[in-house]
Symmetry: C2
Subunit: 344 residues, 2 copies
DNA sequence: AATCTACTCGGTAACGTTACCAAGCCTATT
DNA sequence: AATAGGCTTGGTAACGTTACCGAGTAGATT
């Protein structure tokens, strides 16, 4: 049962273990013939180096991690792929760590750094506020991606790549207002979760107050569900609540496309036509929005571009070309079939 | 920059490193007071044990891995969550490894086993045929989940938890035939990929031949795309091809719900009504099918149940209560809005 | 008073690998 | 002929941790 080690290979080949190590790691100081002989033996025996031992000794481990909160979000999918591709190009390994909504991403990151010899971390999704002292402890370059930006000036201690959620949310709300909608319901995350949802709600409020429209709390629907807030099911449930409440509205803005899908279904079941009777707008720009009927009006985040900038920024930090940076990307208002002028 | 180690803790506490190790690992042979003192120091200094060193020495690592091909599949999401929860209950760590469609899952698994001291592996998605010799090398219990079952008797060498894709696919085809459809187009994966797509196509053919209907190759559309075959976009493209081909059909059966969504969109754009003009059926039972308009008729796999059985089976194997088993679960034909009697 | 047991604890040898140093051999240079 | 320097190679000391052995202390038993 005992595993085969580098020593076994060395013995079988009649060389020293240093030589085997050199063969494996593409070191310069080795005779090509010796190297080939060793490599053949390795392939023959099916030997695989023990990475724990490697990481223990090595000084130049090339490994980064991506920490994801909520793996279901299809928005992350291209991000992961791009990051992985770029990492591979730089000959870095990438580990993917999925964490639950209630877990503390920074604590998990700390463990991860020790375990692997991590050179960098990318955070996907999650809270936008962290204990600076905790972050300090990471001691490894890290980039928050898609976590929203705040107005705080103390944001100086970390890097992030994001969309200005508040401004983009306002953009969508302004668009709906421009269409002539006056009573816009919004379906958002629980305010307690310090996540992007909070910022998007702020943007909604900004737009209304800028036009002197009073904010009607009855139009704001908060999702209590903590586990997986951005789900179609939650959108469906909230829309049912909205309909049952009897409050007047001509448009629904959800802070995620998944929610919008659920809303559309609920409205459809209630016999309401979209967009003739009610307009529905989402946020994220996930693929389903393009193939749903009606196609969803949304705010599309430049996922691919952001992913590329994220990984590049991380490597810049790892290689000392940059300390930290804050990149804000413009998102795009994509007008499709689900929104129109109020019809009544 | 040097990391803080167990030695530092021992020195600071004025005890031996063995004592610190005992404190960390909840060993019995330690004075509760000493333990508390050490633990406080650890918390104070922010020390985190180096997992590489641990895994190198340890004999009882408690870690399993889940290997996923194609992370975007929402079908896997509940599976991962359930597996993780069960693992946690058993105090096992779980690592998630995402691999590309073209990668060899067994080879990746081999590396993973060495790196972490894996006690078991679960394969999600991927080919259903593997080199038995390669599998032999794993030397660690593993379970294939959702990879389809074959008729081969040489399947004796591994465990799997699956749905009888061929039979279920036939079930759907029979249902469409019973409705009165005679010309059913099928959108499937490339035959080269030895994946579930192949089995589902077989089921389709079974149903037709059983009724003496000749198989019309013009109704079979294979997705060439290797990267991410089960996408809405591919469904859309294939449906466009189907429409452009001018071949007659009254129903479309896709081997994945995502494909069905794309098909629906393409049909909608072509001015065809679902199900009045064309019936559309999917496979998988992902959430979007319930919230799409029209709601999709599909084959729903019991994902949660399968996940639970998978992880239980793996632990049975790890703990020696079982060697290997083949579990086949019945899937459910869910009839919803997207299918009806042919209308013409 | 002597022995025994239970409870603690420290020292040390691994675990499998890589980094580093020293040494051997050969060819080219002085 | 002697030295220098480039290629190769092997030996050995770490890396940070846990398993194991042995030993010390205290109270309980003979």
């Amino acid at each position: 049962m005992s595993e085969i080690t580098i020593k076994d290979i060395a013995r079988e080949c009649g060389v020293g273990i240093s030589t085997v190590s050199r063969a494996i790691n593409n070191h310069a100081d080795i005779n090509p013939e010796t190297k080939q002989m060793v490599m053949e033996k390795i392939k023959e025996t099916g030997y695989i180096p023990n990475n724990s031992a490697r990481n223990l000794k090595r000084t130049d481990a090339r490994c980064i991690a991506v920490l994801i909160k909520g793996i279901t979000n299809p928005f992350f999918s291209p991000v992961i792929q791009i990051v992985e591709a770029q990492a591979q190009k730089k000959r870095y390994a990438m580990v993917l760590q999925h964490i639950e909504a209630y877990e503390d991403e920074v604590a998990v990151a700390l463990e991860l750094i020790k375990e692997k010899r991590l050179r960098g971390i990318i955070f996907l999704g999650g809270a936008y506020q962290h204990d600076p002292e905790q972050l300090e402890k990471l001691k490894v370059p890290f980039v928050f991606s898609t976590i929203g930006i705040t107005q705080d000036e103390e944001k100086e201690t970390y890097s992030n790549v994001a969309v200005d959620d508040r401004a983009e949310s306002r953009k969508m709300t302004d668009y709906l207002l421009d269409l002539g909608h006056k009573r816009i319901a919004i379906i958002t995350e629980s305010m307690e979760a310090q996540s992007i949802g909070t910022l998007r709600l702020e943007g909604y409020k900004d737009a209304l107050t800028a036009r002197g429209i009073e904010i009607d709390e009855r139009l704001i629907f908060e999702i209590k569900e903590k586990q997986e807030p951005y789900s179609m099911e939650n959108g469906y449930k909230m829309a049912k609540e909205l309909l049952a409440s009897g409050v007047d509205f001509t448009a629904v803005f959800t802070i995620a496309d998944f929610l919008a899908v659920g809303v559309c279904r609920a409205l459809h079941e209630a016999g309401l036509r979209i967009p003739e009777d009610v307009s529905v707008a989402g946020y994220d720009g996930i693929p389903i929005g393009e193939f749903y009927t009606p196609q969803l009006t949304t705010i599309r985040q430049p996922a691919e571009l952001m992913a590329e900038k994220t990984i590049n920024l991380l490597f810049d930090m790892i290689e000392g070309r940059s300390t930290y940076e804050h990149m804000v990307f413009p998102a795009e208002l994509v007008v499709r079939e689900s929104t129109a002028k109020p019809g009544r």
